[in-house]
């Protein structure tokens, strides 16, 4: 990718990994709270004794953290080449 007409910028907020991270994070927080404050005997009977909301919530928060960290560590760079009809093209991961 050594083209002189390149403009490089990061994709910023519109990185799907941020979307996934934030959505899973919100889901995780809501479920964790529900699991802590509202674990009823009826639910325990349904799930066979597991506090399902709490554990799923914790799992989702961990998954969310991984996605946000991944997006932070390896941001997408958008390369705009003026001689290329297809316009934008994401650069390969810089590894």
């Amino acid at each position: 990718m050594s083209n002189s007409n390149e403009l490089t910028k990061t994709a910023g907020a519109f990185d799907i990994r941020n979307f996934i991270g934030v959505l899973l994070g919100i889901f995780g927080i809501v479920l964790t709270i529900a699991g802590i404050v509202d674990f009823t005997p009826d639910e325990a009977e349904r799930t066979g004794g597991i506090d399902a909301n709490l554990w799923t919530g914790i799992g989702l928060i961990i998954a969310a953290a991984l996605f946000l960290a991944w997006a932070k560590v390896r941001p997408i760079r958008i390369v705009e080449t003026t001689d290329d009809v297809t316009g934008t093209e994401a650069a390969p991961d810089n590894d």
Partner: protein, 565 residues
């Protein structure tokens, strides 16, 4: 029939609402990047491989698959795994290793466009028209299933559910084009997993773990332990002889039907075409194969759990084994298709229930959005630009793409209403469209590797193959021969494949071939190796190269087949 109403609380609605805000948000954000038709219709060929790989898997993880595969799991058990391990994975690997270089390397914008370059307008029109019509009708079926679920879960009238669902899909696709559809598919993938994985684990916990499930299924007094191993799967294939059953599954389902579906269906191929390089395009279906082989564990297993855990469903299974499915449905008010919903109602607490409903709605929208976004590309590039209004500026075709999306959604609403009134008719239509795929695969594979094959042979093979499949189907429907289960579909597809090849060969030798210089990028022997590589990129490390990774996937899927065989 009694409605299965899930007891959703405010917390469930809250989670569903948050999810939909994100769905629309993606459409709105993706809109900022759209300035040309190629960006709208092919995402500007800019997406990384893991994104397109998950979209590739998600586009096929719609209503029909999730409900249908858990239903088949409840009915037959482990043989359902064949739809994933024999049916999908090998075909996906083949697409990535063998066929994708032609699609991506020839710079075509759609599968029908490849058809046009290789075989000219005859084969192109057959392919583009049948594909466009099929997508709209299938989008209608997906929409109808979505509307039915919303109707049953939340109690909305069917037509309101249909319109709301269509408007949501429409708004994010018209705003953000294929990028929005693909990004939403990736998001949907994770929401579906977040919903189905806990469901499976909690369900297993309720039946006493894996051992408990094995014990309960073996002692169910019907198919018993036969449901615990995937081979030879006589119940699924409908062949009484185990050897014939294995042959039927491997060739009928595995080779002809699935290779036809996965390698020529533009809904799938489009996801790979949106990636940023030829290497990423090839990696798309190959990386997608890994999640694809794990999905049955959170789709088929819950179906099996539901059949032994939920009293209503096990009663349905008992009655349908002794009396028949119709009376079983009348007596219990459920069918196999309700397996997943019944399990959700049985084991999920409020909160997680909201995630699960969001996941299901997500899956249903993914199916429809995939149909619509593939339709608008074929409509704008292959039909409108090619045959109706040629040589206009790009802005014009971007507009055409947006209007095609709106039109498709409106037609889909009406198709969904028709599907609601004539469910058998829609079943038949879907089966018929399935018949287009088997001969397509035969024509493509011949055309890619045999330079002599002529343009006329292209369309004659397609039409002849499709008609022969229809003929086999009609013969089996009218009772001329009797193959239960999936046997008739396997036979129809295999016939279509053979007839297509025979016709193509005969016609080729009676017509003139295309000149060799027109075949570069389209036929293997006429394409320099360099066309299939991207010299802008450094040679990727071994774990990012298509062939080694595909080999690893193949080994893994063989291990799965042996372990659960």
């Amino acid at each position: 029939m009694e409605a299965i109403r899930l007891d959703a609380q405010w917390i469930d609605y809250l989670l569903i609402a948050i999810y939909f805000i994100f769905v629309l948000g993606i459409g709105w954000f993706a809109k900022r990047g759209i300035s040309s038709s190629i960006e709208f219709l092919l995402s500007g060929r800019s997406l990384p491989a893991w994104v397109t790989a998950l979209a590739f898997v998600s586009a096929n993880l719609g209503a029909v698959e999730i409900m249908g595969m858990s239903a088949t799991g409840a009915q037959y058990g482990m043989p359902t795994m064949h739809y994933f391990w024999i049916g999908a994975v090998p075909a996906m690997l083949f697409l990535g290793v063998v066929m994708m270089p032609f699609y991506y390397g020839s710079k075509v914008r759609s599968v029908p466009e490849f058809m046009r370059k290789r075989f000219g307008p005859g084969a192109h029109l057959v392919n583009a028209l049948s594909f466009a019509v099929a997508q709209i009708l299938i989008a209608g079926v997906n929409l109808f299933l979505l509307g039915t679920i919303v109707n049953r879960l939340l109690g909305w009238p069917l037509w309101i559910a249909l319109v709301v669902a269509a408007v949501i899909v429409l708004s994010y696709i018209t705003l953000g084009g294929l990028t929005a559809a693909i990004y939403n598919e990736v998001l949907q993938f994770f929401v579906i997993v977040a919903a189905l994985l806990p469901l499976t684990i909690i369900g297993l916990n309720r039946v006493g773990g894996w051992d408990g499930l094995v014990e309960k299924v073996s002692n169910d007094g019907m198919l018993g332990a036969e449901q615990l191993s995937s081979w030879p799967g006589e119940q699924l294939s409908g062949f009484a002889n185990p050897v014939l059953s294995v042959v039927g599954i491997v060739f009928g389902l595995g080779f002809v039907l699935s290779f036809g579906y996965w390698t020529t269906n533009f809904v799938e191929v489009q996801r790979a075409m949106a990636s940023k390089s030829i290497n990423a395009a090839r990696m798309t279906p190959i990386l997608g194969a890994f999640p694809k082989m794990l999905i049955p564990f959170i789709v088929v297993i819950p179906g099996m759990i539901a059949a032994v855990l939920v009293t209503q469903l096990s009663k349905f299974k008992e009655i349908s084994a002794s009396v028949g499915e119709a009376s079983a449905a009348a007596e219990t008010g459920v069918t196999y298709n309700d397996a997943l919903l019944l399990l959700m109602r049985e084991v999920l607490p409020n909160g997680l229930l909201g995630v699960a409903i969001a996941g299901l709605l997500a899956a249903f929208m993914a199916g429809m959005a995939a149909n619509i976004s593939a339709f608008n590309t074929v409509f704008s590039y292959d039909l409108w630009q090619q045959y109706v209004v040629k040589d206009r500026e790009d802005d014009y075709y971007l507009k055409v793409g947006r209007f095609a999306t709106i039109g498709a959604c409106i037609v889909a609403i009406f198709t969904a209403l028709i599907a609601g009134n004539f469910s058998n008719l829609m079943d038949y239509l879907q089966t018929l469209f399935g018949f287009f795929n088997a001969p397509l695969f035969a024509t493509f594979i011949l055309g890619m590797f045999w330079k002599r094959m002529s343009a006329t042979a292209g369309w004659v093979g397609l039409v002849g193959g499709t008609l022969s499949a229809v003929a086999v189907f009609i013969l089996s429907e009218t009772g001329v021969f009797d193959l239960p289960g999936q046997g008739a579909a396997f036979l129809a597809a295999s016939t279509a494949f053979v007839v297509d090849i025979l016709l193509s060969v005969i016609v080729t030798f009676r017509t003139a071939p295309k000149p060799a210089h027109e075949l570069r990028g389209l036929v293997y022997s006429e394409t320099p190796k360099a066309d299939f590589e991207d010299f802008n990129e450094p040679k990727p490390p071994v774990w990012k190269r298509p062939v080694p990774v595909a080999g690893a996937a193949l080994v893994l899927v063989i291990i799965l087949n042996v372990t659960f065989g």
